[in-house]
């Protein structure tokens, strides 16, 4: 079983639209995982039917028992996150500032602080309308540990691929270069980078690929909206050569991306000709590359 991760650094490059199309083309050979748990959109194209759903607990939050608390202030003194202010003569925990380190709990002489596990969201396995299964999740508002939820989604997808005897896990990664991207990348066999010929697209591609290199994963790149700026497209092609990243394809700036989303379809379903052929070539090429 091989793991393919699609990332872009920058948001809005067309990553989810392209991943959904590849998922359509791969059909029942794969399990699809939406690891963009902060702003998950894949389900909007897949009409998921829930098979299984579970709450996700991760990270701790301090809680003060006012009955036991003598307001000695030791907890507030050790807290590096300024999460324990005094309100109406009582020390309280500010949930959004508490990082769950538990230092306060360990130093409280009255044992008035307990650490509680946080429900930070849920994850779910669904049947999609395109003959595969989707593992997706929703992170609670302002939750920490998106990296851990990403790891959970990925591991569930891998497990599912094993039990169902699927050849591939296809992962829609998250933007940025932080913990959730690191979680998306770890253990992957192939990275598909989706970029666009804009100053920010190139900038973010370079940063995220610097991260990919640390994992020594083979990478390929799709340049989306290539006709928006030919000079920048050339700049990307030069960069890809320099870094030995295969340039898989260039796709034009086209309203079809938006129209397909509005109709709840993937691009390859919406446009059976040009985009279907183009993305079919991409998918076949990616499979060739990971099998060798």
């Amino acid at each position: 079983m091989k793991e393919i991760v699609v990332i872009s650094g920058k948001g809005g490059t067309g990553k989810t639209s392209i991943t959904a199309s590849l998922a359509y083309l791969g059909g029942k050979d794969l399990v699809l995982a939406d690891c963009d748990v902060d702003a998950a959109d894949m389900h909007l194209l897949m009409q998921p039917e829930k098979i299984k759903s579970e709450d996700f607990y991760s990270g701790l939050l301090a809680k003060i028992d006012p009955e036991l608390c003598t307001n000695c202030g030791i907890c507030a003194n050790v807290c590096r996150f300024n999460a324990i202010p005094v309100i109406n003569n009582q020390h309280i925990i500010k949930p959004l500032d508490c990082e769950g380190c538990g230092y306060c709990e360990k130093v409280c002489p009255e044992k008035a602080i307990i650490m509680e596990e946080q429900n930070v969201g849920f994850w779910q396995i669904s049947n999609t309308r395109i003959n595969n299964k989707l593992v997706h999740a929703r992170l609670g508002i302002g939750a920490e540990n998106s990296g851990k939820l990403v790891a959970k989604v990925k591991n569930e997808a891998k497990q599912l691929a094993k039990t169902d005897n699927k050849k591939y896990v296809l992962i829609d990664g998250s933007p940025g270069v932080g913990c959730s991207v690191v979680s998306s990348l770890s253990g992957a066999n192939y990275v598909l980078l989706v970029t666009e010929p804009t100053v920010s697209g190139i900038h973010d591609l370079r940063r995220v690929y610097t991260l990919v290199k640390k994992f020594s994963i083979k990478a390929g790149c799709i340049i989306n909206k290539y006709d928006l700026n030919y000079a920048k497209t050339q700049e990307i092609i030069d960069y890809l050569q320099e870094e030995n990243i295969e340039h898989i394809a260039s796709l034009p700036y086209d309203e079809i991306f938006i129209k397909a989303i509005h109709s709840g379809k993937t691009i390859v379903e919406y446009d059976k000709e040009y985009f279907y052929e183009k993305l079919k070539e991409c998918w076949n090429r990616i499979l060739e590359l990971i099998e060798n």
């Binding site: 948001g11 989810t16 902060d38 996150f81 940025g176 940063r207 989303i261």
Partner: protein, 286 residues
């Protein structure tokens, strides 16, 4: 006055709006724009300003002093992040997991885990006339954006007075980096686009802002014949739509080469003017 530009979904036009709005407003006000998307800071690519300051930003992590350690195991037990692990006769520190809470260091009876500095990113300050710009970029391999966002916020607080209009370009999403970037703002502009993806992610962003008790309004980018998708939702939730930036290929092209947009696309300038009026009339910016 502090205003944050945020969105659930990436690529909706936060940076386009932040940079153009900051330039536009700096004709009349003293403005500092801060790029808090420290994982992928882009605002600077769209501004042509002179760098006046560069400084490394550090986080504190424990360092094991073997000679002092008695292998009592307290440090491992005190770390809720599994960033300090005892392996045989060794203490291993995993800096990327460390939240700098100091528990292991200060609870160690032998002072065998002093906190030392580790570089997490670089902060830069730029200035031209009445426009100031601050950005921080996270070192590749550092996983936590929040400590660097905090440091950057502190820098802006300490270096710019109340009279300066502060605009913050926030990271995408709804998790901890967004909270850190928006929690001190007086008003948040949520940028979205009229697609089902845009709507879904706007709903998440709205929930986040309500959780934080923030005042917020919506700016629709790439506004087209599908605007009803967003306006129906905003009407039902009694959310104000402050501006509608049209969907034009010309804007995408100017953006692609990092050029200023409002001076070349009059329809864009009209929308910035609406935002300015809103700031003056509703938020009493003067």
């Amino acid at each position: 006055m502090k205003i944050a530009i945020a969105s659930g979904k990436g690529g909706t036009g936060k940076t386009t709006l932040s940079t153009n709005l900051a330039k536009y407003l700096s004709k009349e006000f003293e403005v500092v724009l801060t790029d808090l998307d420290v994982e992928e800071p882009n605002s600077g690519l769209f501004l042509n300003l002179d760098e006046i300051l560069e400084e490394d930003k550090f986080k504190m992590i424990p360092k094991w002093i073997e000679d002092k350690c008695t292998l009592c195991g307290i440090c491992q037990k005190s770390c809720n992040y599994h960033a300090v692990i005892q392996l045989g006769e060794m203490i291993l520190v995993f800096p990327e997991l460390c939240h700098s809470c100091y528990a292991c260091s200060e609870l160690c009876p032998e002072e065998a885990l002093p906190m030392i500095k580790q570089k997490m990113g670089v902060l830069k300050q730029f200035k031209t006339d009445k426009l100031n710009f601050v950005e921080s970029r996270l070192e590749i391999g550092q996983e936590q954006a929040v400590p660097l966002i905090k440091e950057t916020n502190n820098f802006v607080e300490n270096n710019f007075g109340k009279e300066v209009l502060k605009i913050y370009d926030s990271p995408p999403g709804t998790s901890c980096p967004v909270i850190e970037a928006t929690k001190n703002a007086d008003f948040v502009f949520l940028v979205t686009e009229p697609t089902p993806f845009g709507l879904n992610d706007l709903q998440l962003a709205v929930e986040t802002m309500r959780e934080l008790n923030k005042d917020f309004g919506v700016v629709v980018n790439r506004s087209d014949s599908n605007n009803k998708l967003i306006s129906d939702y905003c009407d039902s939730q009694k959310i104000k739509i402050i501006a509608n930036i049209p969907n034009k290929r010309e804007i995408a092209e100017l953006y692609s080469s990092g050029e200023e947009i409002y001076s070349k696309v009059p329809e864009f300038a009209v929308e910035l003017k609406k935002i300015k009026s809103f700031l003056i009339n509703e938020l009493k910016v003067d």
